[in-house]
């Protein structure tokens, strides 16, 4: 190993370490974002629900009542789009699985055939 290769190798190690730190920071930020979002949800619900124990049974109705029709439709649209996305994605994964099997069959016995070692649905192996 010459000097250049050694410095490159050291740099690659430091980049890997930096990426691990970055991953940790990203994860911490995600958790913080999630906690903030949950706090906002309860903060918003608190004035609607608090101090009305006798009427607790109708609390959910009041929450629904407080929602603006436009916002509700927006969220319903988001939920619907997510559902259809997941449906389409499962179909795509099924197609990838079939395509990869056909490709493997086509290339069977070929010289110098190497694999990328992804799963049969094209995901990174765990």
């Amino acid at each position: 190993m010459n000097k250049n290769e050694l410095t490159l190798s050291l740099k690659k190690q430091s980049v890997k370490a930096l990426e691990l730190w970055l991953g940790l920071i990203k994860h911490a930020l995600s958790v913080a974002g999630g906690v903030l979002a949950i706090w906002l949800i309860f903060e918003g619900l608190e004035p609607i629900l608090a101090g009305r124990d006798a009427a607790a049974i109708s609390a959910f109705a009041r929450v629904i009542d407080s929602l603006k029709l436009g916002s509700s439709l927006g969220y319903l649209w988001g939920a619907g789009a997510t559902g259809f996305y997941l449906l389409e994605r499962s179909g795509k994964k099924r197609a990838i699985k079939k395509k990869s099997a056909l490709q493997k069959q086509l290339e069977e016995g070929e010289p110098n055939r190497t694999s990328c070692h992804l799963t049969e649905t094209g995901n990174t192996p765990q």
Binding site: N2, N4, E5, T7, L8, K11, K12, V15, K16, L18, E19, L22, S30, G33, G34, L36, A37, I38, W39, L40, I41, F42, E43, G44, L45, E46, P47, I48, V63, S66, L67, K68, S71, Y75, G78, T82, Y85, R89, K92, Q103, E107, E110, P111, N112, R113, T114, S115, C116, H117, L118, G122, T124
Partner: protein, 208 residues
């Protein structure tokens, strides 16, 4: 007050969308493009060659694309930029890396060499695109750069059209063409295409 609750739900929904929908979609997009390169361009090209799939360039290109495929998910814009900065400060090491890669893909056959260079470049662009699309900072920078390019290109096109006395339609056409090429034209000199390709290939070749 209910708006506060909806804001919280919206933040959660947005985070979920980014984590479970946007990132996997970009990953699939990049991998689809890499699989297309490998299965629809590289393999058919070498099947037409005299040496066929025994050609050393086929083995090298297939290994490179396999490395990119395997490594796609772990690439990060920060790591990529850090490598580029380091390479710009360590020219000898960067040059030695580029020479090493060029040697791995060298061949006397000009047609095969040109084809190999084209595939390597395309694979690197796919990887670069993925790192930018999946980074919030990268997306913001790309937006700023492309907006600056678009405004600059449009302004230049309009000025040219006005000074040459052409019709507004010609100005609009010129502006559109300039806009389309704006991002690519701006990014290449910014990152240094050769160094960028080397940085990405080095990591991909380590994977297989």
């Amino acid at each position: 007050m209910i708006e506060t609750t909806l804001l919280g739900i919206g933040i959660l929904a947005f985070m979920g969308m980014w984590r479970w929908m946007a990132r996997p979609t970009y990953l699939d997009e990049a991998r689809d493009q890499l699989f297309d390169l490998r299965d629809d361009l590289v393999r058919p090209f070498f099947l037409k060659q005299k040496a066929g799939l025994h050609h050393p360039q086929y083995i090298a290109l297939r290994n490179l694309i396999n490395g990119h495929l395997r490594y796609t998910e772990s690439v990060s814009l920060l790591g990529f930029v850090v490598m580029l900065v380091w390479m710009s400060r360590n020219e000898a090491a960067a040059r030695s890396l580029q020479v090493k890669h060029e040697a791995a893909f060298s061949t006397d056959d000009q047609e095969v060499r040109e084809f190999g260079e084209k595939i390597r470049k395309e694979a690197s662009w796919i990887m670069m695109g993925y790192t930018i699309k999946t980074s919030v900072i990268g997306r913001t920078l790309l937006f700023i750069i492309s907006t600056r390019s678009r405004v600059g290109n449009c302004w230049r096109a309009v000025k040219e059209a006005v000074s040459s006395g052409r019709l507004p339609l010609a100005a609009a056409t010129a502006a559109s063409v300039a806009t389309m090429s704006g991002i690519a034209a701006h990014m290449v000199p910014t990152v240094g295409a050769g160094a960028a390709q080397s940085a990405l290939e080095e990591r991909a070749l380590q994977q297989i």
